[in-house]
Assembly symmetry: C2
Homo-oligomer: 317 residues x 2
Amino acid sequence: EEIPLLETVGRILAEDIVADVDLPDFPRAIVDGYALQGASTFGASEGNPAYLTVTGSVAMGESPEVTIGPGEAVRIATGGMLPQGANSVVMVEHTEAIDEATIEVYRSIAPGQNMIAIGEDIKKKSRVLKQGHPIRPQDAGLLAAFGKQKVAVFRRPVIGIISTGDEIIPINETPNLGQIRDINTYTLMGLIHEAGAQAVSFGIVSDDFEILFEKCKLALDQCDMILISGGSSVGARDFTVDVLSALPDSKILVHGISISPGKPTILAKIQNKVFWGMPGHVVSSMIVFSRVVKPFVKHFSGQAGMQEKEHRLNARL
Amino acid sequence: EEIPLLETVGRILAEDIVADVDLPDFPRAIVDGYALQGASTFGASEGNPAYLTVTGSVAMGESPEVTIGPGEAVRIATGGMLPQGANSVVMVEHTEAIDEATIEVYRSIAPGQNMIAIGEDIKKKSRVLKQGHPIRPQDAGLLAAFGKQKVAVFRRPVIGIISTGDEIIPINETPNLGQIRDINTYTLMGLIHEAGAQAVSFGIVSDDFEILFEKCKLALDQCDMILISGGSSVGARDFTVDVLSALPDSKILVHGISISPGKPTILAKIQNKVFWGMPGHVVSSMIVFSRVVKPFVKHFSGQAGMQEKEHRLNARL
């Protein structure tokens, strides 16, 4: 999908961005001072200043019409375009005005000093951002520099949450003894949003085959991925597997993984969509989400091969 | 402001959250197995199992009516409520059913084992989350556990951006030689959103006293904080300061800070609002934002004393 540049931060780029111009596309001063030919200042020092003739000034945002020759200088502000002939800028702090048309320069200025040349930031035709790249504020700035008002980003995957368990009640109800409020839906929704996807809650389903089956079919229509929360007890786990197996075109890929907590996790592929059976305990569920589900979400979001790097450091303390 | 629980992740809590119930408020099994009195299993082993009488089972989400005496056990699933008299749970894997009403138990179970007691997660009346706390997914889950459907959070500060400079053009225009597109507005908007605030762009203003003055007055009415981007050159800097000084009830607090890049930063207090003069160069601007402006934004957001911790580690490599 194409979205306005202002909404792109945090989204995943769906196209390569290739520079259509050099950046900058004109030579820019990076200090306030005078544009000049470096050679005009060679050998200059506090004791032996160079004397230059000021032939004008550069207006911001305009292409200057003057040309700089040897012994000449033009007033310029940070960001201003260097005139023809100039190849460097002396900082105003290293000069003194003698009269309206003459300055003393106290430093030797090397060609290229205090300026950015054409294409020095980014060369035309170079690839500046890669498909799959998560857009940061500075990337939005870079896209602005190329005048991209609309940017192609990957659609955020839609992830459904089905909360199961006879003991689970909605959070606006008061639990009777033995019941608990639906903590997992809220925790998982937060985790899904943080992972850059959209979350849809399908509410709480009791441990009833028909109801869970129908709810799964509904979620299958609306979502890219579905998390079934709860059902981590031995009986319930089998029950979730039974429902998933009964859905058309389904395949149970994983039934129990070797991490603790998180062991009773289920992974099923149904009609090219992904169903996860998540542990009912909220801490186990968070761990399974961050370690196992989140990389899938990132992959679904278009961030192939862009998984979070963990920085490891061997240290002796 | 009060917002629905589902929208709270990433926002800053404006109230202390005190537990109004124990969590859990009933003793829960954390494995599938049998609730019993630990003493009934003391000395039990593979070679010398204990024999217990199964007197029923606990339905999920209900308060069991049976009471457990010595030598008795009741079937229970993870999350189920322990019956009166029971003080621990034996895992189903450590038992074998002999007949309908009798099990062998192969382990000695200590009182309290495989269960969570009332208030073991959170004690009633304890403060669970503090005002100023940024809400994470697990905090949303915790708020769900207490049935909080609406949560009081701090309003996100509104931060205005005024982009200045005769050389700056809107991103939908094609720059003539000497002009550049407005990179800073897009970069700063991204940074402001990431810092948890709302950004409002006031567009591009040429280096004209009257226009900048009027734009600042407008921004002052609408925003909690204003960033003036650009005007980092000596002349422009003075110009920004002149405009800020001319606004009613203004005080220039800082004019130039000792970091590089970022030196030409300006800080002014105007009618109890904060104006920042940001460097025109986007990299300098990002550094000043992250190091100097962002802590203010966090403070404005209600995160007093909750600034990002930097984790430092002394290591020998």
